[in-house]
């Protein structure tokens, strides 16, 4: 049984349709990356799955528990770190974690011990007794994440957990998520950073206009764009046409402004050395030649393009 399962989720806000029939299944112990442009419906999906919002139609379970029919039981199995830090500004970091620990029905001593463990795990021990008002954005975010991990939930929802963090804080959060997954937690995370999905997620669901636009592993999604390519960056823009003429194969792409030419890397290294030879014979200087895998960014732009290029 999947840890998260959603079928036909619909949510409307007046005339706006935030979710237009979302289907999603996340196997236990895996990380699902929910990607999508602004307004795609990521937060709406997370809020429905965490019982904060009722769907207008459809059905969803978390850890096998129906989130609409049995929200109380579902809440005991899930953890949520919302898009915006939801911590008490006046209290200290430790007081915040103690508060949320108590509300998880931990005893006073257990709540304090857990708070200190989490503060240490997220590098907040030094700031433990400082009021959250004086925290930096990154510290606040880490505290927020810690608050979502108080009881090591079976299923954890992270809505853009690293937005606005520096690379180091981001890496810390990534490693915290990996640790949790290793211990058996299932994670659904939404993100704007494709690299994050690439790094963390076993499978990626691409959301657009409230619908699943694509779903698969990062490699599967990249294959949508036709696999690896040999990309040549020329020194001189005026050479672009001649290079394109010499390299002519189906699937050739030319970017005149960037002085770039690329062809499918059908035979990988052989294609690469062929390109190098052709250019050398014609004495066309190149700055850079490489085999490149399409980035998730390209997949993202390709699949969520609102205007299909002619």
């Amino acid at each position: 049984m999947p840890a998260i399962e959603a079928t036909g989720l619909v949510k409307r806000y007046g005339a706006d349709t935030a979710l237009a029939g979302l289907d999603l299944a996340v196997p236990e112990g895996t990380v699902c990356g929910l990607l999508g442009p602004n307004g795609a419906g990521k937060t709406t999906a997370v809020r429905i799955l965490t019982t904060l919002l009722r769907p207008d139609a459809g059905h969803a379970t978390v850890a096998g528990i129906d989130v609409v029919k049995d929200p109380a039981k579902a809440k005991a199995a899930l953890g949520l770190v919302g898009q915006h830090a939801a911590v008490d500004e006046v209290l200290s970091g430790r007081e915040n974690l103690q508060l949320f620990g108590r509300l998880h029905h931990l005893g006073a001593r257990t709540a304090t011990r857990r708070a200190d463990e989490l503060l240490a795990a997220f590098g907040l021990t030094d700031a433990a007794t400082k009021s959250v008002r004086h925290y930096s954005g990154g510290m606040r975010r880490r505290l927020d994440l810690a608050a979502g991990l108080i009881t090591e939930p079976r299923v954890l929802f992270l809505d853009e957990p690293t937005t606005g963090l520096d690379p180091r804080s981001r890496a810390e959060i990534w490693s915290a998520v990996r640790d949790l997954v290793r211990r058996g937690t299932t994670v659904l995370l939404t993100t704007q950073y494709l690299e994050e999905a690439d790094q963390l997620a076993d499978r990626i669901a691409l959301l657009d206009h409230g619908r699943l636009a694509a779903e698969g592993t990062s490699d599967e999604l990249k294959a949508v764009l036709g696999g690896d390519r040999v990309e040549v960056l020329l020194v001189d823009q005026s050479d672009v046409d001649e290079a394109a003429h010499l390299l002519a194969v189906p699937g050739l792409e030319v970017d005149r402004d960037a002085a770039k030419v690329s062809i499918p890397a059908t035979d990988r290294v052989d294609t690469l050395s062929g390109v190098i030879r052709t250019l050398a014979d014609a004495a066309i200087p190149a700055q850079d030649i490489a085999i490149r895998r399409p980035t998730l960014d390209e997949v993202f732009l390709h699949l969520t393009a609102t205007e299909v290029p002619a």
Partner: protein, 263 residues
């Protein structure tokens, strides 16, 4: 049974969060506690000289019950701000995503706000005693007067929770702060409604705050004006009925509003 126990223990946890706020931001707590005392001193010493009180009574004796009701009214701002802040900052959503008792959020708020109002009243009573206010009918009626004030506060709690969830914007408290004043002045808190133009005086008598203040003066044996309107004549009854009416309207509204956060 466990549901009830969790409602109480979780509610207390949330109340304690506010107590911690006071400790972390003591200056705000001190201002809240002392503001009514400041008003009491200003009105009794700066304006009180020009105020006539029936039977040659002391204006300060007259004013303290009114200020006590004002404290309850100011409490509306506290409730509103706390509820609206938690709603916008995502704290309410965090609470809603936890396996805690759903009614604890309201119970905890009620506990914290009642404690704050009681502390403020205690300080006001202390200041009142210093400037010459007394309760003249014994401790029983005086405690009865306190109960009347608490009843009003509980009704305003429901109003504040409803409006806070409705506005979901802590900035809107400015509107509340402005509205509290006409509510306070259009009453018998500072002067007799009989001195106001006829219809305005009737509105002032009908003000729930006036009913509570009249009842408190009556119970403490403090001077007040004999009213002429039906509202003034039945003030003690209204001091019970008004808060219950407010509760009957706003408590269900607040609960509904809370339940509909998932829409």
């Amino acid at each position: 049974m466990t549901a009830l126990r969790f409602a109480v223990t979780d509610g207390w946890t949330i109340t304690r969060r506010d107590l911690l706020h006071w400790r972390r931001a003591p200056s705000i707590a001190v201002i809240t506690l002392l503001f009514p005392v400041l008003l009491l001193l200003m009105f009794s010493y700066l304006l009180g000289g020009g105020m006539a009180v029936p039977d040659g009574g002391d204006y300060r004796e007259f004013l303290v019950p009114g200020m006590a009701a004002m404290v309850m009214l100011f409490g509306l701002e506290t409730t509103f701000t706390s509820v609206a802040t938690d709603a916008t900052r995502g704290i309410t959503d965090r609470f809603r995503s936890l396996p805690m008792s759903p009614s604890a959020v309201v119970l905890g708020r009620a506990g914290a706000d009642l404690l704050q109002s009681l502390a403020t009243i205690a300080v006001l009573i202390g200041a009142g005693l210093l400037v010459g206010w007394r309760w003249h009918n014994g401790l029983g009626p005086a405690l009865g007067a306190l109960a009347m004030l608490i009843l009003l506060r509980i009704a305003l709690l429901a109003v504040g929770i409803f409006l806070g969830l409705l506005a979901a914007d802590p900035q809107a408290v400015v509107a509340m702060q402005i509205l509290v004043w006409p509510f306070g002045f259009l009453s018998n808190v500072f002067t007799s409604p009989a001195t106001m133009p006829g219809w305005l005086g009737t509105i002032a008598d009908a003000n729930p705050v006036s009913a509570t203040v009249a009842a408190v003066r009556e119970l403490c044996g403090n001077p007040g004006w004999p009213g002429t309107s039906w509202f003034a004549e039945n003030a003690t009854l209204l001091a019970v009925v008004w808060p219950l009416v407010l509760l009957a309207i706003f408590f269900p509204l607040a609960v509904r509003r809370y339940q509909r956060l998932n829409r």
